[in-house]
């Protein structure tokens, strides 16, 4: 087991700076960074026993000299681990420190060379359709709702799903693997109590075993995924690495390709939506999205801090550092260094991007950029009115490296296209809050007191599905359709569709649960003819009460009672200047009868019939 050994600390010339430095709090560090860059660009933090580097140019020099500045400490914890932890790790056969990022040449050269054979641009590019499908599907789930938490509902899941797909992890294992991966982050980058660290250590052991088994299984059954490719390369004769090292590489890629991209998306979207003019620019011209992704990488670097160890005495930013000194590199500060970037906090879609250089240049960066680009393309195309929910506080998980809010509440306007079409300005829109008792709906849906297809006021059109009406309104099921003659209350048309899911109240969980409809119920009619009549009668009553055609939502509870949930005026046909069939003035008398005979209805309607 290798851990970072603290070195003797040189005297710190800036105790007040060190006191104010909060290495585990990444919420709003930029003012502090600016102060540090100005007052003491390289300072010592006794709390973590690291020298902290804040300027762009200093960091650039460090990255370019991997011999003097080693990465061997990157995955080492900041503070000594409790005694239990190494015991657990050792007993569990956890033999790995890092896949790649913590390795030094020549090991690093050997391993990186090996994985590069598999991690090709082709494999990354080939993932685009899949990434787009995943992104579209996830956006789809909330797009109709008008608000969402982009971290919980998009940024946290999407990179994981992508990398899981690439690493060949079956969907069923995903939740478990994610829990283990989180333990790894807390272990290596966090500051957790002892008992919690024990728990995470146990998880780490399980996690490691999982990877070894996964790689072993690729020997038995080749598969088209990254582990499969690596095993393939190994079997074709490149046996410069061990199979445990393959497992370690794959294991490393998970966090590398997952947590970093989640941080990029969460934080990047927060920054981007915080500067609405940049977001609007993207919506206007999606061609600028690649530039925007680069800017997000800069402004909200997903890896906010990184570590190096001084191997030979060196000077950084005018400070002499002995061999063995641990360095904490504040990438987040470097990227906001106003000596390099004009208006560093601003997302500038015209900015020449400063590239990061060095041997540890992230292997997965093209993948992260691709994911960033696809997400911005999909979001801007689908939800152009996206904006931050005002007044929210951003909460950052306590670790030094992966900076991203735990929640990002956004809202958008689902009615914007409608309002634009009808030229209703935003100022004319009022909002009401309605509180209703929840109906335990056996079936529910909508009804209109006219046929929405034709404007025919002699009909009541009903759509119905099992459970709550949300599935009908949102279009997640094809509902049963009933057309009822309004006066006779006769069902004159019905189409029974396959209804695969229903939403049911989960009283204990204080939420609504989607569940599959049993096979034998899927194609059965939601409503009996009597119930169709009862819903139609209820709709008729609403129409009579309001004196104009109504668009209602209804539900039938478990006891069979028909509930009117909502009634609002029908707007499409009712606002047409003329009734659908303009008639001549009503003629009376015998001559009108002769006229009926001479110009029969069928002839007058001939153009419709004879299309």
């Amino acid at each position: 087991v290798v851990t970072g050994q603290p070195t003797s600390a040189p005297a710190c010339p800036h105790p007040e700076l060190a006191r104010d430095f909060q290495p585990f709090d990444l919420a709003e560090p930029f003012d502090f960074y600016a102060r540090a860059r100005a007052q003491a660009p390289v300072f010592y933090s006794p709390e973590i026993d690291y020298w902290v580097v804040t300027r762009y140019d200093d960091m650039r020099g460090i990255f370019r000299d991997p011999v003097t500045f080693s990465s061997e400490n990157t995955q080492a914890p900041y503070k000594p681990r409790p005694a239990e932890v190494p015991q657990i790790l050792e007993a569990g056969g956890f033999s790995v420190v890092s896949g790649l990022s913590g390795k030094q040449p020549p090991d690093h050269t050997r391993l990186r060379g090996f994985i590069k054979q598999a991690f090709t641009p082709r494999r990354v590019a080939s993932l685009e359709p899949e990434i787009r499908a995943i992104a579209a599907r996830m956006i789809e789930r909330f797009a109709g709702r008008g608000q969402a938490d982009l971290v919980v509902e998009l940024a946290r899941e999407l990179p994981a799903l992508v990398i899981f797909r690439m690493l060949g992890i079956p969907d069923a294992d995903v939740p478990q693997v994610k829990e283990w991966a989180q333990s790894r982050v807390y272990m290596n980058f966090g500051d957790r109590p002892v008992e919690e660290q024990v728990h995470h250590a146990e998880n780490l052991v399980r996690y490691w075993r999982y990877w070894r088994d996964l790689v072993q299984s690729r020997f038995a059954t080749p598969q088209d995924d990254l582990p499969g490719d690596l095993v393939g390369i190994y079997r074709q004769g490149d046996q410069t690495i061990t199979t445990d090292e393959i497992a370690a590489l794959v294991y490393g890629q998970l966090t590398a390709g997952h947590e970093t991209t989640t941080a990029l998306l969460s934080n990047g979207l927060k920054e981007l939506l915080g500067q609405p003019e940049a977001w609007q620019a993207i919506c206007r011209d999606r061609g600028v999205i690649p530039v925007a992704v680069e800017e997000l990488l800069r402004v909200s670097a997903p890896v906010f801090t990184w570590k190096r160890r001084v191997k030979a005495p060196a000077q950084v930013g005018g400070v002499d550092l002995p061999a063995g000194t641990n360095l904490l590199l504040l990438l987040g500060s470097a990227n906001h260094d106003d000596a390099v970037f004009e208006n560093p906090d601003r997302i500038d879609l015209g900015r020449e991007n400063a590239s990061r250089q060095g041997i540890h240049f992230c292997l997965g960066a093209p993948l992260a950029r691709l994911e960033g680009r696809v997400v911005l393309e999909e979001l801007s195309a689908r939800l152009p009115t996206l904006r931050l929910v005002p007044g929210q506080r951003f909460d950052y998980g306590a670790n030094t490296s992966f900076r991203g809010p735990s929640h990002l509440l956004v809202q958008w306007d689902t009615t914007a296209p409608y309002r634009r079409h009808h030229a209703i300005s935003e100022d004319d829109v009022r909002m009401a809050v309605v509180v209703q008792r929840m109906v335990d709906a056996r079936a529910a849906g909508v009804a209109m007191t006219l046929d929405p297809a034709t404007g025919d006021r002699t009909k009541v059109a009903i759509e119905a599905s099992f459970g709550l009406g949300e599935t009908v309104v949102s279009g997640t099921v094809t509902p049963d359709h009933f057309l009822v003659e309004k006066v006779l209350l006769e069902v004159v048309g019905s189409i029974i569709s396959r209804k695969e899911v229903e939403l049911v109240p989960d009283a204990a969980g204080r939420r609504v649960r989607e569940r599959a409809v049993e096979a034998d119920r899927q194609l059965s009619a939601t409503l009996s003819n009597e119930e169709v009549g009862a819903v139609a009668a209820r709709a008729k009553r609403a129409e009579r009460h309001y004196g104009c055609p109504q668009d209602i939502e209804w539900a039938i509870d478990r006891g069979g009672a028909v509930m009117l949930l909502q009634s609002r005026p029908e707007t499409v046909w009712s606002n047409k200047p003329q009734q659908p069939q303009a008639r001549p003035p009503a003629a009376t008398g015998l001559m009108s009868i002769a006229n009926t005979l001479i110009n029969p209805l069928a002839a007058r309607r001939a153009p419709d019939v004879n299309h």
Binding site: E378, A381, H481
Partner: protein, 607 residues
């Protein structure tokens, strides 16, 4: 389109007789045939089978009902009332079934008929009640005359009193006269049948058309319910049976009446043995005239069973009613409820009318329809049930006489003989009687009737074609539509049953017709590929697809209903939409030209 357009039905000349039915033509009068020498004319017209009134193969005698009915229907349009656009309906018998072809009035003659129509029809509408009273007297006289007809076997000798009174005529003369009189009276009944009927339909058609225009989408049934009669003579036979059932329960005859099977004689004697049985039997007898002259068919066939000749039918109904009364059920027709419901329906439709002017026209036309339309139900009892029941009974009696004379085996065999041939049969019978020799008929008819039965059996094995030749582009003839429900849509569905590649059906979710290029979109990730003016073809849409609807010309979905997202948004944007096609995304490829008809819910692949 990928299918060959079928727009013609088979020609009668290309539709051969089924095997074993060769020579069927001679079973029916020559003027009912599609003649070879008129092929060009006949093939230039559209014929449809009238299976509504004559659903089975005609026995030779039975064409009398279609001949008299359709001839008299025509005369009222053509010669009495001068209905402006419509003459009669031409008709033929083909392979045993009757086919109709309405005869329009040439366009240029229509205007000159209007004043005559106004005067003639106007007179009837203006004097409807008194003319109808007169009508009822006439038809009752016809029925009385039919009832009075006697068909008796020829006696050994002419009665002595005929000799003494110097009559100078024999019994064959009376038989011939009775037969001719029966035919004449049937003809007269059918004349009266159409005296009011066409006008009843004209008024109803006018009200119907008015409602459909003022309130498109109003249910046909709803219009019918507003006009329907409540105290209708046609319901009286059934009412009589309910009355008999209640009387039976009152007289404590329920048990005697309902025990055992429906053996009429046994049941009636069991009732007669009860203390108050005679009272009930008298009521049973009294109800029969005229109310048991009620056919269990439509009256148009000799084979239709009439209550009076099959007392087990009404007796069975009475027993059912008795059972229901004993079970505590209400058996009375709830006329008050029906009236209240009719009033409710009328009031609701009236309320849905667009304005007061339309409501005034509604009131006037409904008033006329309610006055005249009940005749449509009224006449049915007097003619189809009562008159024809008597007529068939009389002819059957003649058949019995001739069976006794050896012409054929069973009374009903007479219906295998054409009505013109029957005049020969009656003469043959009288001829042998007069000459004092055997008639020829018993040598000729049994074999001939057997042959005819075989031909009819062969005809019955083949289903009639629904129509023949090329249909009109649009069926507009009001009586065709009114009486037969034959519309362009119906004709089209007969034509296109089965062959439908290149067409997709779905919900008519948003109206309008548009042609354009298809863009099949697998999911939200493909939305960027949609070009301005393309037709979006997708499995399902979602609220978040809003912006795309500003670009497309129409939407077609595999799943979704009238109130699904695609439907609602397309209506908002005024784009045609067909939803719930089931298979649009698999049947259609990007780049194909489509026609989307949001009025009818059809999508046509044009290439």
């Amino acid at each position: 389109m990928s299918t060959t357009e079928v727009n013609r039905f088979i020609s009668p000349y290309d539709d051969p007789a089924p095997e074993g039915a060769e020579g069927w033509e001679e079973l029916y009068p020559y003027y009912l045939h599609f003649r070879q020498d008129r092929r060009e004319f006949e093939d230039g017209r559209f014929w449809f089978a009238d299976l509504q009134h004559w659903p089975t193969v005609f026995k030779p005698f039975d064409t009398i009902t279609v001949e008299f009915a359709i001839k008299c229907l025509g005369q009222y349009n053509t010669r009495h009332l001068l209905i402006p656009p419509a003459n009669g309906i031409d008709y033929r018998v083909h392979n045993g079934y009757v086919y109709m072809s309405p005869v329009p009035v040439p366009e240029e003659q229509i205007p000159e008929r209007v004043p005559q129509f106004l005067e003639r029809a106007g007179h009837y509408f203006a004097n409807w009640s008194s003319l109808l009273e007169n009508w009822e007297r006439k038809i009752r006289r016809v029925i009385g005359d039919l009832e009075a007809l006697e068909f008796e076997p020829l006696p050994e000798v002419v009665p002595l009193e005929w000799i003494k009174e110097g009559r100078g005529l024999d019994n064959t003369f009376a038989l011939t006269q009775s037969y001719n009189r029966a035919i004449e009276l049937a003809y007269e009944a059918f004349q009266y049948h159409f005296e009011f009927l066409n006008l009843g339909y004209v008024a109803y058609l006018d009200f119907f058309t008015f409602c459909k225009e003022a309130l498109p989408g109003v249910a046909d049934l709803g219009i019918a319910k507003m006009v329907q009669g409540i105290d209708v003579v046609l319901f009286t036979p059934d009412q009589e049976l309910r009355t008999l059932a209640r009387l039976a329960v009152e007289l404590d005859l329920g048990r005697a009446l309902t025990e055992g099977d429906v053996d009429v004689d046994r049941v009636l004697s069991a009732v007669g043995l009860q203390p108050r049985g005679a009272e009930w039997l008298a009521a049973w007898e009294a109800a029969q005239d005229p109310w048991f002259n009620f056919s269990s068919g439509n009256g148009m066939y000799s084979t239709d069973r009439v209550w009076l000749d099959h007392l087990e039918i009404p007796l069975g109904f009475v027993r059912d009613y008795v059972h229901r009364l004993q079970d505590g059920e209400e058996i009375e027709r709830p006329t008050e409820q029906i009236r209240a419901e009719r009033d409710r329906i009328t009031a609701e439709y009236r309320e849905l009318m667009p304005d007061d002017e339309t409501r005034a026209a509604f009131d006037e036309k409904l008033g006329l329809s309610r006055l005249v339309f009940p005749y449509v139900e009224h006449h049915n009892f007097y003619i189809e049930h009562w008159s024809l029941s008597v007529f068939w009974r009389k002819i059957r009696r003649l058949g019995e006489v001739l069976a006794q004379a050896g012409f054929w085996a069973e009374p009903d065999d007479i219906f295998y003989v054409r009505r013109d041939e029957l005049q020969h049969v009656i003469f043959d019978y009288g001829n042998g009687w007069g000459v004092g020799v055997e008639p020829m008929g018993p040598y000729y008819w049994p074999a001939e009737i057997a042959r005819r039965k075989r031909i009819l059996a062969a005809l019955e094995l083949k289903a009639p074609v629904p129509a023949m030749n090329e249909p009109p582009a649009v069926v507009t003839e009001p009586f065709t539509i009114m009486l037969y429900g034959i519309t362009s849509e119906a004709v089209s569905s007969w034509l296109h049953a089965g062959a439908d590649a290149g067409h997709l059906g779905g919900m008519a979710a948003s109206p309008g017709v548009v042609e354009g290029v298809a863009r099949v979109v697998g999911g939200a990730e493909d939305l960027g590929t949609v070009q301005e003016g393309e037709i979006l073809v997708t499995r399902i849409t979602a609220p978040s697809w809003g912006p795309i609807f500003g670009r497309i010309a129409a939407a077609v979905t595999d799943i979704g209903g009238m109130m699904g997202h695609a439907a609602i948004v397309c209506r908002e944007y005024g784009l045609p939409a067909v939803t719930g096609t089931g298979s649009a995304t698999t049947s259609i490829h990007t780049g194909q030209r489509l026609r989307v008809d949001g009025n009818t819910g059809t999508v046509t692949i044009l290439d």
